[in-house]
Symmetry: C2
Amino acid sequence: MKSQFGEKIRTLREKQNLYLRQVAPLLEMDTAQLSKIEKGMRQLKREQIPIIAEILKASSDELMTLWLADQIYAVVKDEKMANEAMQVAEKNINQTKRKK
Amino acid sequence: MKSQFGEKIRTLREKQNLYLRQVAPLLEMDTAQLSKIEKGMRQLKREQIPIIAEILKASSDELMTLWLADQIYAVVKDEKMANEAMQVAEKNINQTKRKK
DNA sequence: TATTGACTTGTCAAATATTGGCAAATATAA
DNA sequence: TTATATTTGCCAATATTTGACAAGTCAATA
């Protein structure tokens, strides 16, 4: 499993028949960087997600979900206690929510 | 929710009637740092978890779980798509496991 | 096979983020 | 007050991530 987010934006970009060189400048980066992002070798900045969502006519929430999932995965990948940690974290999230 | 890991090691330390100044040197840090770690203002290094587990006579797996949960929480805290992201990440973890 | 265009990869300095260490502050008890 | 334990603030040191560029691969095709 590489990068769900990267794979997704690549697919979306290809569906729109856009080249890296067309999309990259809209995100103020060069094609090399965007290529790495699509391959999961770099992370897009969180605040750029709404921007790329608009460029690719995709749901910002969906892209954000994949982007966050990649971040989480990076933390627990190869960890023996991954599932247990996820359970604990999930509990914390929901507790925080309830408090608001 | 601050730091599950920090709260846990503080509780364990107090149960053993140990002072920061006694534990910190065993982790090659000063009391200020350990204090911050217990309060969730700093992260213990991943590789030090087995060490502190031994010092505090606790389960390394349990501490690792809490430590990882803190890292995950840091990623998704305040994120609208937190729960969705957790679901996606969990799926990825289990897929990776199956492949091994 | 030479050229072109799209994409990829490697490197490295610059920008960011995190940590370590110290000193001073606070807190509590005697 | 003094002593001890812990906390906080600061900033330099260290580590990590990013940006930019050059050179590389690959596929299509003239």
